[in-house]
């Protein structure tokens, strides 16, 4: 099992760096994972996306489709990439502590 070490904390992750145990997720963990995805600081806009993705996942057990994410957050896709340089699937979902999305986002 690969691990990810950020600022002295170690997490079990899958090969693509997604958090293995969703129960470990909290805002602090999100902040740490954001660093590994090229995000220096989590702003309110980042949280808006992360919380949306996370709530959607908790409700439907799947990551939202990209166009739904854009519609519901009001952010254009370009804006999402500005916030999460590795994109909604690899970036936003990872920071939100979701398991690896299977081709939706």
């Amino acid at each position: 099992m690969p691990t990810l070490e950020i600022e002295g904390r170690t997490f079990e992750v899958d090969e693509d760096g997604f958090l293995q145990d969703p129960a470990l997720w909290n805002e602090e963990v999100a902040r740490l994972f954001a660093k590994s995805e090229g995000i220096a600081e989590m702003t309110e806009e980042h949280w808006k996306v992360v919380n949306y993705v996370r709530n959607y996942y908790l409700e439907f057990n799947i990551a939202p489709m990209v166009r739904k994410l854009c519609k519901d957050t009001g952010f254009k896709l370009k804006k999402i990439y500005d916030l999460f340089p590795s994109g909604p699937a690899k970036g936003a979902c990872k920071v939100a502590g979701l398991p690896k999305p299977t081709g939706c986002v």
Binding site: E15, G38, V66, S86, G87, A89, P101, G103, C104
Partner: protein, 429 residues
């Protein structure tokens, strides 16, 4: 002798044909690649898959480079201890140049780049058309991307639910049949839709392909969600003197492609006139006639006698939508939607069509539903409504036997409420 014993793969080296197994062994021996053991371990894991009759690649991973959501396909081996060289074996898709024109220097540079950061193994080309770099690790992705974009001025292609790398036939660059500049169109649309190409937001993949004529060298009609196929409006140009030269045997049919075997004397009636699918040609022994109104631009006669017959001069393209490989439904060819449009830069008319189609498909398409399947689900009629087009006999293959265009209530006099008894009194069944 490689690192692993591969008796089954070795069978694939026998015979007079080129062999990918030999190619991989060659790379292993050359040994200049950054992932030293990758070629050897690739052979090893493949041999094991042949033995176990099951793949040893895990289901795709999510890796990528910053700023892009596509272009890299994550691949991991499920036997990483046995085959460490391919534990990570990600694929990168590189946008091929229009019509795949390369200088040898550029090819060398590409290969050197890939030896510097990957397995050195490439696939020229993937079925969408991209140059495929086979096998590297997550750590190396950004490095390849940086050098490729900065030193070689080359971009990644598409993967996942986005616009896939557009591709075009050789077109005007070398082909006399090209009815528009396929390279220009391919390049222009690639540049216009960079966001859609690199940032997946579609229900599923979407492909553009540009064929310069109905010969279809990039198989647009079979493989593209939007197929752009060159055609002409006016008459086939006939050089009667050259026709006679074919008949007399001075010019070889099919550009001499049938050399090497004696097929007998060229017979224009048997080999051209009677093979015309619409029966619109005639030959009276001295003049070839074509009833151009009936010609479906199948290209047969032009292919046989290229020096005598040429496409007309009023050229453009037909636009078809909805081809796809079998997924949920069977394979499907695209359906003629726009019989003719002019193809001149900056291709505004074409872009308008694309935008209309995407707006609809992104709104209505289910996850993993190709455009062709959405058209099937919602009906071609609905599609025409979205495209703001009227049905046209040219959209169906046999207008009187498969007219899948239905009337709507408001288009029928009296709507659905007419008195059937009254009607039958006047019109018997």
């Amino acid at each position: 002798m490689g690192k692993h014993k591969t008796p089954m793969l070795d069978e694939l080296e026998k015979g007079p044909w080129p062999s990918f197994v030999s190619d991989i062994k060659q790379q292993a021996e050359k040994g200049k690649q950054a992932l030293k053991d990758a070629p050897d371990d690739l052979l090893g894991v493949m041999e094991l898959s042949y033995k176990d009759k099951v793949t040893h690649w895990k289901h795709g991973g999510i890796v990528g480079v910053f700023g892009y959501g596509g272009g890299v396909i994550g691949r991991y081996c499920d036997q990483p201890e046995k085959f460490p060289g391919v534990a990570h074996f990600h694929t990168m898709r590189v946008n091929q140049p229009a019509s795949k024109f390369y200088s040898t220097k550029f090819l060398r540079d590409l290969c050197n780049l890939w030896e510097r950061y990957g397995s050195g193994l490439t696939n020229m080309h993937g079925s969408t058309g991209d140059i495929i770099f086979l096998g590297t690790t997550t750590d190396n992705l950004e490095r390849v991307f940086y050098d490729m974009t900065h030193e070689l001025n080359q971009d990644l292609g598409g993967s996942g639910s986005n616009l896939r790398t557009p591709s075009c036939c050789v077109g005007l660059a070398r082909c006399e049949w090209a009815c528009y500049d396929t390279e220009e169109a391919c390049h222009e649309l690639t540049m216009e839709y960079q966001d859609e190409l690199h940032r997946p937001a579609f229900p599923y993949k979407f492909k553009f392909k540009f064929d310069g004529c109905p010969n279809g060298c990039v198989a647009a009609i079979a493989r593209a969600d939007m197929s752009v196929i060159g055609t002409w409006k006016d008459d086939i140009r006939i050089d009667q003197a050259a026709v006679k030269a074919y008949v007399g045997g001075e010019i070889k049919p099919n550009g001499g492609a049938h050399a090497g075997k004696d097929w007998g004397k060229f017979d224009i009636v048997e080999e051209v006139v009677r093979l015309c699918p619409t029966g619109c040609m005639s030959w009276d022994g001295s003049t070839l006639k074509i009833n151009n109104r009936e010609c479906t631009r199948c290209m047969h006669c032009l292919n046989v006698m290229p020096r005598a017959l040429r496409p007309g001069t009023e050229t453009g393209a037909s636009i078809l939508f909805g081809a796809k490989a079998p997924i949920l439904e069977g394979a499907q060819l695209s359906t003629l939607t726009i019989p003719f449009i002019r193809m001149e830069p900056p291709f505004e008319e074409l872009k308008e069509l694309v935008n209309k189609v995407w707006d609809w498909w992104m709104e209505e398409g289910k996850n993993r539903e190709r455009l062709g399947e959405l058209i099937q689900r919602e009906s071609f009629q609905k599609f025409l409504e979205i495209m703001e087009l009227s049905p046209d006999p040219r959209m169906v293959s046999e207008p009187r036997s498969n007219p899948y265009i239905f009337w709507k209530e408001e288009e029928v006099e009296g709507g659905w409420t007419r008195d059937i008894k009254d009607f039958r009194a006047k019109h018997q069944r």
